[in-house]
Amino acid sequence: MSGVRVLVGTRKGAFILSSDAKREKWDVSGPHFAGWEIYHLKGSPADPNRLYASQSSGWFGQVMQRSNDGGKNWETIGNKFAYDGVPGTHQWYDGTPHPWEFKRVWHLEPSLTDPDTVYAGIEDAAIFKTTDGGQNWQELSGLRGHGTGPCWQPGAGGLCLHTILLDPSDPDRMFIAISAAGAFRTDDAGKTWKPINQGLRSQYIPDPTAEIGHCVHRLAMHRSRPGILYMQKHWDVMRTDNAGDSWQEVSGNLPTDFGFVIDVHAHEPETIYVVPIKSDSEHFPMEGKLRVYRSRTGGNDWEPLSKGLPQSNCYVNVLRDAMAVDSLDSCGIYFGTTGGQVYASADSGDNWAPIVHDLPAVLSVEVQTLP
């Protein structure tokens, strides 16, 4: 019988939540790597039992973990992330040059076809790749080196490369996003990159329509239409129909278009989800009501989904990597909060219930649909 495995990274460890296809009863495993920050863990699409995890700590730096049995057992793998060549500088918060310094791995994106190949998005922003199951990591330095790298500035959370999308129809094409540089695309497997930020408008930078400098919070794609991307920007929900060559705002009737997460229904490429957050200075839902918003039209027309979610005195945040979907017939939607709740909906968002509600602050949520 099929089922799902929800991989949850938190401020103090990782948790694995498992259920059958009904998604009513859950087994909770963890904490794994207790006491460590787990920014992200993700399974290989080519081998669901192969998991990778980013484990980090302000005391002990970055550790990388791999499991070959779905998270029951883990082994450390290579944790050396050395920038290619002379790293140079990016801009610091005050606009002065600042040396590129590795801080942590924010996001892991396993290859769609090879369990030993994984991409890692790091802070300070760069993308790395392993082809040997994580023993060795090499930078795809064409991203930092394409020209605008010295002008990139960190967002409040750091200069982080937090999103990596692989095009299932073209193995040479990838999309990434960096706070606060913007979105970028490669069409040659990471050798060269170009900014894809035309149409974004950000009032918090000197030139609101600049080529780079936009605080992109998250990108999402439906695998059947990889040329269409959705974006939750610092402010604004955006959409591109031409692989990022130009973007249009689709915030529509959202009560606020600030937020972090965005994701796409597994079977309906025009159905998308966001969690509106009041503002960049008040990182919690409006009116203390936690509501997911769904658009069935690829944006602009949004409906609130609140059944089963707290509708009073809720002041949590939902961070950029903390929403995911399963691919069961009735699509499941999942998200985690900084209050330690992981909510699930087994009916595309109509009804919600917490799987767990007292974890450490949730940093990331990924879902595996198991055969």
């Binding site: 207790a34 006491g35 460590w36 700590s57 302000g58 005391w59 002990f60 730096g61 970055q62 550790v63 450390t76 944790n79 050396k80 992330f81 050395a82 590795f102």
Partner: protein
């Protein structure tokens, strides 16, 4: 053999008890002790010293014989009591955070 005491999280990572023993070839210094730790426990590489700069991580301290050796040269000889194994070399995590 040099006795080394590790902080809790590194004991868990290396799957060892509170104190480990390492054999150091040549002069016993902070650098050679950590080299020996990393050779025997590869999973600890990068956790005591920054992988790229090889500098002590800011929130870790090195103590021995009731002295803070954190700011000594990594190539300075460690006290005779550490060299003889009578006293441990302590790697301590700063008391900070929530």
């Amino acid at each position: 053999m040099i006795q080394v005491m590790l902080p809790v999280h590194l004991r868990t990572l290396a799957q060892v008890g509170s104190e480990i023993s390492v054999n150091v070839q040549g002069e016993v210094t902070t650098r050679s002790v950590i080299d020996a730790i990393e050779a025997r426990y590869p999973m600890l590489r990068g956790t005591i010293r920054d992988y790229n700069t090889q500098e002590r991580r800011p929130f870790l301290r090195f103590f021995a014989c009731q002295e803070d050796l954190s700011h000594e040269s990594p190539d300075a000889p460690l006290p005779a009591e550490v060299v003889s194994g009578r006293e441990p070399f302590l790697i301590i995590g700063a008391i900070a955070g929530g």
